[in-house]
Assembly symmetry: D2
Homo-oligomer: 275 residues x 4
Amino acid sequence: MIRGVTKAGLGEIGSNEEYIRLADRFGFRSVDLNPLELIEQYGQVEAADLLARHNVIIGSFGLEADWRGSEDLFRAGLPRLVQQAEAAAALGCASCCTYILPATDLPAAPFMIAATRRLRLCANILGAYGINLGLEFVGPHHLRTHWANPTIWTMQDTLEWMEAIQARNIGLLLDSYHWHTNGLSTQELLALRPDQITYVHINDAKPLPIEDLMDSDRLYPGEGAIDLTGFLTSLQKIGYTGVVAQEVLAPARNESLMDLFSHSKACFDKLFEEL
Amino acid sequence: MIRGVTKAGLGEIGSNEEYIRLADRFGFRSVDLNPLELIEQYGQVEAADLLARHNVIIGSFGLEADWRGSEDLFRAGLPRLVQQAEAAAALGCASCCTYILPATDLPAAPFMIAATRRLRLCANILGAYGINLGLEFVGPHHLRTHWANPTIWTMQDTLEWMEAIQARNIGLLLDSYHWHTNGLSTQELLALRPDQITYVHINDAKPLPIEDLMDSDRLYPGEGAIDLTGFLTSLQKIGYTGVVAQEVLAPARNESLMDLFSHSKACFDKLFEEL
Amino acid sequence: MIRGVTKAGLGEIGSNEEYIRLADRFGFRSVDLNPLELIEQYGQVEAADLLARHNVIIGSFGLEADWRGSEDLFRAGLPRLVQQAEAAAALGCASCCTYILPATDLPAAPFMIAATRRLRLCANILGAYGINLGLEFVGPHHLRTHWANPTIWTMQDTLEWMEAIQARNIGLLLDSYHWHTNGLSTQELLALRPDQITYVHINDAKPLPIEDLMDSDRLYPGEGAIDLTGFLTSLQKIGYTGVVAQEVLAPARNESLMDLFSHSKACFDKLFEEL
Amino acid sequence: MIRGVTKAGLGEIGSNEEYIRLADRFGFRSVDLNPLELIEQYGQVEAADLLARHNVIIGSFGLEADWRGSEDLFRAGLPRLVQQAEAAAALGCASCCTYILPATDLPAAPFMIAATRRLRLCANILGAYGINLGLEFVGPHHLRTHWANPTIWTMQDTLEWMEAIQARNIGLLLDSYHWHTNGLSTQELLALRPDQITYVHINDAKPLPIEDLMDSDRLYPGEGAIDLTGFLTSLQKIGYTGVVAQEVLAPARNESLMDLFSHSKACFDKLFEEL
């Protein structure tokens, strides 16, 4: 498994160049960032060189095409999706991810109809560039009632949705926080095939009843109540060899970028030495 | 357009042979019945001959595979679905129909996920035999709250769903009662292409506010408040040439089979002479 | 049916503005042109206004994404395809067309595998903008052996391919020359449903055995051996109401643009008065 | 990886009961057989018990629906396909396999069109029962010209075809003989993901130039020129954990069933001790 970071949990990062440089320095081999932005900033040759020089890959980028709202909004995002896919392929990035909010203010059934069609198109476009689409189920209970109508939030429903969407390049984005808040155990992970997992996020939860955990109040991996050793060991056992990226959605901490990177490294070191 | 009947509105019919014979006698050129049952009753040669002798086609048959409940139940219906498709193709029947209940006791989003996958499979199996699948949206308002969670009931959502299911042989079953209770006008019909319509049901509604109309309390076509001339004229204008089948879901009437057939004929005669 | 022109058969046209103006002047209500180019030339507002002022629509534009060659080439065309689809939707154009060469220098089976996947993606992208993809089968016999390996050239195989591609928005581009050189009759047209036809090209053939007809040696509609009255009458009978666009692939004629437009109008007038 | 047998290479087996019993006795944990036949012979309860008693699974069964010929023939096989899928699911068998002949007497392009549509339907039906479809590419050179028109025979083309078919439950049936006769190395295996492999066949080849190897003249695994240790080690490395089933297509040997089973066991023992 490849150690990775996202920007969530690292405070203010000056530039993508610094982001990549520090990831390398602190032993992370993958960063999440927008490949098109990177090329726009540095040019394709220098962007590729920057990554190669630091032996860092772009693990994943976010699906920007808005598949949750109006058709016009969705369409408006397609030109940039194609460009991002092109940029990602040029830089060797093979995953694009999006999350499923567990509720919506739109009527649930028509929402799912439109979302199914739109995610299929996004997956098909990404697939033309050899990129997989990761769907992240979102566990925190408070979000299930944050909007009027429930959608889906379980791993099982997300797996079923992948069959309904019917694209070969769709898998799970498995986030330890959502695994935990869904009340899942290592058993459910051990029942997965590695190809069902496109990407993995790691972070930790306060020692509260899972019903009370807030989505934006996460801890660094290893500092909380989630059985992350069980989580990672299970992924290893089933043969997952992809990125495990830290994503700590939490209030900003009053620490330097170096301290946050250093802290993240320490957390990963401790977790990974037990594998 | 082809005049057709279903058994709804015709009381107790002794046998399929009588059903076909009377349809012919009263000028209906299409009957809805189960083609596999017909072959099981008469043998394939005699079943085909019975239809040919009376110049009557099987307009449509109901999709029996239960796509609304458990996966086991759905699977259990597949062997018979294939046999029915085979029987339908052997007897020249080109449509299979199912209706969408506007609510469900299951959570709506997972329900739509399973239903999308299952209807695709049904459509694909039917397609192998040259048969189209008609999806009937169901308008009566009381049904929208009859189960816990709303699904879909509008023509537009049904058209969208056809795109999400992504089979080429899916179209609408357009029922005048559901068109009326959805508050639609001829304008929405005129915006359709004929290939979007797999099948048409015709019947009438009591002169009540559409919110108060009950699904099982319909009238014979022409006896109620629905603008059936506008309905049929619009279908004719856009080039629909398929079956228009009477389906009068209503309490049993204390009349003979002959009287009910005769009454249906009179209703059709009046409506069709205005086209 | 809507009278349309393409640039093939009209000589050198100075600008798209002139093209649209003359189409209008000579009674054509549809032109084939690149909607993205039109917007790039005039801006979206003026482009739309130009079309509206002359009561002319863009009937269709050519699929520029190259689905016949390498994967790199195909990918390279996708960004522009999305932009074209966007432009087409903005200008109310609902069809994009491509032709199937009846042979290829690539091995036929792998070629069909790649082409199936690529055309599905193109159709899906176009579908997000409400645009249909028309597939043109190409009849002239000399082309069947022009490259090493035969692909497909019949209407029936093209219809089958549409099922294999499995997108709901794919139909035929029906060209009278290819219908003729395939030795088809009005019977095959009468067996079509209108939704199976995305677009129609019209032109004529020299009075030669169909085996000897060259693809680039066509005549103006009505001046040759094709039963165009039968062709158009059949399309009318089955309910086709879309564009019928002249496409005369032939050596340049030494005539003025005005004369060529005028000649085309006369050909159409004669043919359409018989419908 | 699970040691498995097929009937190819084991001579005349008296009954499925004997087949399962001997597989167990000689250390094979998987047999290839028709699950529907097993249920028809023993009843579902006893069939399941027979397998459980011997700790043997049904690794795979052959796709009997004929997707290579006429549409009528294909349709005729669908009812039994559904029944077989049902039987397979009831007995815990998760794979169904079919092979791709490298040539056909039908025109190649239309053949691929029909085959793409038909294999998608077969995969969809199997998928409803949780069963994967394995596609076996066939390497021997003499078969490429045995029929008039080449289709596909490479691993890469088969992987591409899986994308064109667009079902999520299709993977490779990887046979060591076809890997060898395609001139592939362990490098190509190491580039696969385990989920791309539905099933594995193992057998060996005479020490001849690969161009001269005949499809029906195979050797027992370990007795020939194929680098089976490299083959198996590579599959192990990428995380394949499924069945590796012996399939020795060869002239009958004048040996007893016990001797053939015993010989097969010895071959497997030798190969697997090196892993």
